[in-house]
């Protein structure tokens, strides 16, 4: 069990904000940390890692990592951390990056096999693709056999194909090393695939906390499905109004009544849902 109960004043782009989080995480859980940028996700991760200070308490199992009197140094926490920008040691080859953390050749070899990197073990990080670098970073984070694995948007710089592949590898490693994993993510499909719990932060506070399905599914009542989108334009055509809405990478038209149109405005974030028909799914 990890118990985090911390407070910290943050000076963000929108002025001061109090990051105040009280969170209990079960051992072996895979928690996704979601929320808009600037909501305090990364800071929370860094406080847990010991890279930033905060007031409050952090307890991991029976060990106190931080309370009023003590603060365990980052070196002694024995966690694994995966950065968004990989942060590999540029002067060391792939295998050296791993062995620098822990001189355990068998483990390094095993990790490189799992992530299909054995062939590249003598290459310098700068000669690898983004996906390969992030796998090295993942392997490196596991070299200390950490009990806690923290990942700060590990896959957001990668293309969708590489992302899906690495999600699979992350899941395999999470299970094999039995880590308690906390991952910052913006991608609902990624959270759904990997996490058994999703925590949403907004302005430094937890606003949602539950299973991936509960938090991520946006339908309510008898709605069959529902999407969040932004109104780009509202046009009057004869007696009806048509709202042009951008949903994900798509643009759709929705007929709205005059009364509804009055309450909507351009750039508003709305939810588009439907009840009365069965959607058809066709392959492209």
């Amino acid at each position: 069990m990890i118990h985090i109960d911390i407070q910290k004043m943050l000076h963000g782009s929108s002025g001061q904000m109090l990051l105040g989080v009280d969170l209990k995480i079960k051992q072996g859980d895979f928690v996704a940390l979601a929320g808009r940028s600037g909501s305090g996700k990364t800071t929370l991760l860094r406080i847990l890692a010991g890279l930033e200070s905060a007031s409050g308490e952090i307890k991991v199992g029976d060990e106190i990592w931080q309370d009023k009197l003590t603060c365990k140094s980052v070196q002694k926490r024995g966690i694994g951390f995966v950065f968004q920008d990989y942060a590999l040691f540029a002067n060391m080859s792939v295998i050296e990056n791993l062995l620098f953390v822990q001189k355990d050749k068998a483990l390094a070899k095993h990790l490189l096999e799992l992530t299909e990197l054995e062939e590249l073990q003598d290459r310098l990080p700068s000669t690898l693709s983004g996906g390969q670098q992030q796998r090295v970073s993942l392997c490196r984070a596991l070299m200390n056999r950490p009990k806690i694995l923290l990942m700060d948007e590990p896959l957001s710089a990668l293309d969708p194909f590489m992302r899906a592949k690495l999600q699979q590898e992350i899941l395999i490693l999470h299970k094999e090393f039995q880590t308690t994993t906390i991952m910052v993510s913006h991608d609902p499909s990624e959270m759904y695939r990997l996490a058994n719990r999703v925590v949403v932060l907004e302005n430094g506070k937890i606003i949602q906390d539950g299973s991936a399905k509960d938090v991520l599914l946006k339908t309510s009542g008898s709605q069959k499905f529902s999407f969040e989108g932004e109104i780009l334009d509202i046009k009057k055509i004869d007696v009806i109004y048509v709202a042009i809405i951008s949903i994900g990478q798509q643009i759709v038209e929705v007929v709205v009544s005059e009364n509804e149109a009055k309450n909507l405005h351009v750039e508003q974030i709305v939810r588009v849902g439907t009840k009365a028909f069965a959607p058809t799914i066709s392959s492209r």
């Binding site: 890279l51 980052v74 950065f83 942060a87 040691f89 953390v101 490196r140």
Partner: protein
């Protein structure tokens, strides 16, 4: 025309530059590392003090150093009475003076190099359990090779090229404090233009070759590591 040429001033210049560079490298490394990582309030104060030798006239710097190292100041008196070391008008004094004079040329490139490092990379090292010292030696230093080379070469070259401070603190004692730049000054004074030409040409060539090799190395290194 070469029969009257003395190479002692050159040897002295390079000896002085070599010793100064070695001392400054050892002292500046922890200082530059601290400056690059620190959020302390006195950081700006320390930065301003280390940069002073760049803006001060060498005569001002030379005057203060001369005064501080002489018998008239507690520092000079202390070294003379306790260790029996005289610090003015000899080679030891020149080394001390050069260390002050060239300090910013060692500290600033090193600090710049450390500051340009990816902070996450250093943090990754701390997270994996490595101390600050080990991170400095194994991660930070190997990744700032161009800055390291620049700092060492520029400090060396700058010390070879110093004139005003050396003249004030060391005078011009042959074989002891008469370095190449002072020797050239004296040649011009006694209107020995031939020797002055030769000495100056040697200085220009060596300096140019040194700088050229730094730039070539840095270009190749950047290509290799892909910074």
């Amino acid at each position: 025309m070469f029969e009257n040429l003395e190479f002692a001033p050159f040897i002295l210049s390079f000896k002085l530059a070599g010793i100064t560079t070695a001392i400054l490298f050892t002292l500046s490394l922890p200082l530059a590392w601290w400056l690059s990582q620190s959020k302390s309030k006195i950081k700006s104060f320390i930065e301003a003090v280390t940069a002073l030798p760049i803006v001060l006239p060498p005569s001002v710097l030379g005057f203060y150093i001369l005064w501080a190292l002489s018998h008239n100041s507690p520092i000079g008196a202390f070294f003379d009475e306790i260790f029996g070391i005289k610090l003015v008008f000899n080679f030891t004094g020149l080394v001390v003076a050069s260390c002050f004079y060239s300090l910013p040329f060692m500290v600033q490139p090193l600090q710049g190099g450390f500051e340009s490092l990816n902070k996450n990379m250093l943090e990754a090292s701390y997270i994996s359990g490595k101390s600050r010292l080990k991170t400095l030696l194994r991660v930070a230093l190997p990744n700032i090779k161009p800055a390291l080379l620049s700092a060492i070469i520029i400090t060396f070259a700058h010390t070879v090229g110093e004139f005003g401070v050396v003249l004030m603190v060391g005078g011009s004692i042959p074989g002891e404090t008469k370095v190449a730049s002072v020797a050239i000054y004296e040649m011009v004074e006694i209107m020995d233009y031939t020797s002055a030409h030769i000495y100056s040409a040697i200085m220009v060539s060596i300096s140019f070759l040194v700088l050229l090799s730094v730039y070539i190395f840095n270009k190749r290194y950047v290509k290799k590591v892909g910074l």
